[in-house]
């Protein structure tokens, strides 16, 4: 059992935003598969169809996606969130996005009747015009949005950061000043792939974000820098597919990990990561994961 921003998780693995998170039923299915908590697809103020396909492809080193924040809007998602809350006891975190603080407030208020256990603010999607990383690279905007949501909701607020900035710690600090209870790092890394038979960019949106194995070292460095700069917990995400990755992320400073692309290998991945963490702690004489969080900062 771990406690994260006041939420009780049976283990420190969390389903990442945008993965199996479009419907209440899929969130419940994942919750039954040994996940510590689940995050929904990012939900916005209006319905969005997202970009044309191809919207996700597997590359040699990871996955490339540009979904374009497809979502049914908070109005239609409310029933999905209610279903998830009713059918599972693991914490359900609502990921939300918008173009400005008012949008974020509207979506947070709109979803609040379903009683999400926390909100995750997506200020970091690398490929949706006017949303996500467009605002997530400006510390003033991040602080303003975080403060607005924190003032209006009575559950923990996590802020999800983009690695596509020069100094992620300064954005993390802005979120902390705004009142964030935790930061989540990282969203996908701006990337592109081209079909060499024809020269066409493969994604319908031409470019998108890289996830999976290739971005783990980037995520580890971001978590490491955030741990050095912040007092609030950091949730590590990016390329975690096995327990060794989770331990590494924790040693960099993560209090918990989120897993996204690795669901490709099988939805049972969470249980095996959680078991692997426990075994590792036992074998190495640690009592709790607290013993290894940020260890990389202490040993040298």
């Amino acid at each position: 059992m771990v406690t994260l921003t006041g939420l009780k998780l049976k283990n420190p693995t969390i389903l990442a935003a945008g993965i199996m998170g479009t419907t209440g039923a899929s969130l419940v299915r994942m919750a039954k598969k040994g996940v510590g908590a689940v995050v929904t697809k990012s939900i916005g103020p209006e319905p969005k169809e997202g970009h044309h396909n191809p919207s996700m492809v597997q590359l040699e080193c990871g996955f490339l996606n540009a979904m374009g924040l497809p979502n049914p809007s908070y109005k239609a998602f409310l029933q999905e969130l209610e279903f998830a809350k009713k059918e599972t006891s693991v914490p359900v975190i609502a990921s939300i996005f918008g173009g400005d603080a008012d949008d974020f407030l509207k979506v947070a208020d709109g979803l609040s009747p379903a009683k999400p256990d926390a909100f995750e603010l997506n200020v970091s999607c690398p490929h949706a015009q006017g949303y996500g990383a467009m605002i997530g690279s400006d510390p003033y905007v991040v602080e303003e949005i975080t403060r607005a949501v924190c003032d209006s909701v009575d559950v923990p607020v996590w802020v999800k950061l983009t690695p596509n900035v020069t100094d992620i710690a300064s954005i993390g600090e802005a979120a902390e000043r705004g009142g964030a209870d935790a930061v989540v790092a990282i969203n996908t890394v701006r990337a592109m792939a081209i079909d060499i038979a024809t020269g066409y960019p493969i994604l319908g949106n031409r470019f998108g974000g890289l996830s999976g194995e290739a971005i783990k070292p980037i995520a580890v460095k971001c978590v490491y820098d955030l741990y050095a700069a912040l007092d609030i917990p950091i949730i590590g995400v990016g390329g975690v597919s096995k327990w060794q990755d989770a331990i590494e992320m924790m040693m960099a400073g993560a209090s918990a990990v989120q897993v996204g692309s690795a669901v490709f290998d099988g939805i049972g991945v969470f249980g095996s990561i959680a078991d692997g963490i426990d075994n590792y702690l036992d074998k190495n004489g640690h009592v709790t994961i607290e013993d290894i969080i940020g260890l990389a900062h202490e040993v040298i």
Partner: protein, 261 residues
């Protein structure tokens, strides 16, 4: 997997709104019922079942399929696949019933041929339906592999009515394996009949939902209430998994909003 490049070698008109596109690449390992993602570059990428190991059979319904219809021999497409779970192939000597509606014949014709080629050809029975005689797809392929009952809504060929009318008249329990693909409304009626006869567990349904990633990650194609992914856990499902689900009732579109089937 990146899309692989294939060149269109031949096109055949199957009906006024349906064409088969053959390409220069054969997916020999494909199991009937598996699908590929077809990338019409610059337009969209859409799921299509393999109607032969080297072809897809497409009904023109919207933007991407219309763009596909503009292509000519020698033009190229990107293909990812084969993807998903195909049909559970019947055991030798099992009696097989296929129920196909419209372009739903696409995954069933290769299945019929597979069964026929494995030496049990006399045991395949097909009920093939369409709106009108010129919309019947692959009637000849089914005819060559066993017994066939044809229905058309307007009575221009075979029996006037629906595939379910034939289904109601035959002894369902004579068949060991039942496979169906077609418009969801049709499959839902078939499901009702089989469920009543307690034969739904010997039946497999090839479903359609809106696909985005097509590799089981994004969750766009999940069905209620179990969260099964049509792209990865399907697209072929045993009838048992469809009891008391959204199947036949509603489906989600690109944004995730529920709509009519």
């Amino acid at each position: 997997m990146r899309p692989i490049n294939v060149t269109i070698t031949k096109m055949i008109d199957e009906s006024p709104s349906t064409k088969t596109f053959f390409f220069d690449r054969s997916f020999e390992s494909a199991i009937p019922g598996q699908f590929v993602m077809v990338w019409i570059r610059g337009v969209d990428e859409i799921p299509m079942t393999l109607s032969y190991t080297n072809a897809i059979t497409v009904q023109k319904v919207g933007d991407a399929t219309s763009a596909l219809f503009e292509l000519k021999e020698g033009d190229s497409l990107g293909i990812r696949g084969p993807i998903g779970n195909g049909f559970t192939l019947p055991q030798k000597d099992e009696k097989v019933l296929l129920i196909a509606g419209g372009v739903g014949a696409a995954p069933l014709a290769p299945l019929a041929e597979h069964v026929a080629n494995s030496g049990t050809w006399s045991n395949v029975t097909t009920i093939l339906g369409a709106r009108s005689y010129n919309e019947l797809i692959f009637a000849n392929r089914f005819f060559m592999t066993g017994e066939i009952h044809v229905t058309t809504d307007d009575g221009t060929q075979g029996r006037r009515g629906f595939v379910t009318d034939v289904l109601n008249d035959i002894d369902i329990l004579e068949y060991d394996k039942i496979y169906t693909c077609g418009p969801e409304i049709m499959m839902a009626r078939v499901f009702e009949i089989l469920h009543k006869a307690d034969a739904h567990t010997r039946a497999e349904f090839s479903l359609h939902r809106y696909f985005k990633c097509a590799i089981g990650v994004c969750g766009a194609c999940c069905m209620d209430p179990h969260g099964l992914r049509v792209c990865k856990d399907g697209p072929v499902f045993n009838g048992e998994l469809l009891v008391d689900t959204e199947f036949g009732k509603y489906k989600r579109g690109g944004s995730g909003i529920r709509g009519r089937v």
